[in-house]
């Protein structure tokens, strides 16, 4: 299934709970303030990299760009546009937004 996280890992525990709950083989899409987790030097980068062994990790490019963070994306994170977001939703049978 597709997991969507829209909160900064420094602000909320959504990413932590999502990573502890998500089952192997799923996908994680970071949007809005969630994209900060996918940037180099962020304290959450380590756990995100670790999660890549079990989950495919995506981040919404427009949200990274809007925040001036597009030039420091963590290795292994796949960037998508809104069309890519739509594809992720249709490719997975269900999605959960970790609000």
């Amino acid at each position: 299934m597709l997991h969507i996280v829209n909160k900064s890992p420094q602000d909320r525990n959504s990413l932590d709970t999502c990573l502890a709950t998500a089952q192997p083989g799923g996908a994680l899409l970071l949007i809005e303030d969630g994209v900060y987790a996918a940037t180099n030097g962020n304290a959450a980068a380590g756990k995100l990299t670790q999660a890549m062994g079990q989950l495919k990790v995506y981040a919404l490019k427009a949200d990274l760009e809007a925040r001036g963070m597009a030039d420091r994306v963590l290795e292994g994170v796949n960037l998508v546009d809104y069309g890519g977001f739509v594809d992720l939703v249709t490719e997975h049978a269900t999605c959960q937004s970790w609000l």
């Binding site: 809005e32 977001f85 739509v86 594809d87 939703v89 609000l99």
Partner: protein, 119 residues
């Protein structure tokens, strides 16, 4: 594919409605059907025609109304949440309608995907 959308936050304070709009537009461009957008919690504030953003800002209410009309999207505002927040038929923007929570459940049953945008 038939995709339903749930929006739980109002315009301008949270990004939820913007993200949902861009998602919906992209889905339509890809040939999918967005059958219904359900507005709940403060999300009901996306539907008031009294909204007047500055000229150089996006008009979140009007662009939902326009997208809805152009692509026959059922824009449903939850009645209980709306009445709590002073949203009534008389201040509803064109294209929106007020109805019950059952419409959200129905979307969950009838659409192939349901995507939630919120805080």
């Amino acid at each position: 594919m038939d995709i339903g959308i749930l929006i739980n936050e109002g315009p301008y304070t949270h990004q939820a409605s913007d993200s949902a709009y861009l998602f919906a537009r992209a889905a339509i461009e890809k040939g999918h059907k967005v059958s219904r957008v359900f507005f709940y919690h403060d999300g009901v504030n996306n539907s008031t025609r009294l909204t007047e953003p500055p000229q150089d800002d996006r008009h979140i209410v009007n662009r939902w109304a326009k997208l809805g009309q152009e692509h026959s999207i059922d824009l449903v505002v939850c009645v209980a949440a709306a009445l709590r927040r002073g949203i009534k038929d008389e201040n509803l923007a064109p294209g929106f309608r007020i109805s019950g929570l059952g419409q959200l459940i129905e979307t969950g049953i009838q659409s192939e995907r349901l995507v939630t945008f919120g805080d």
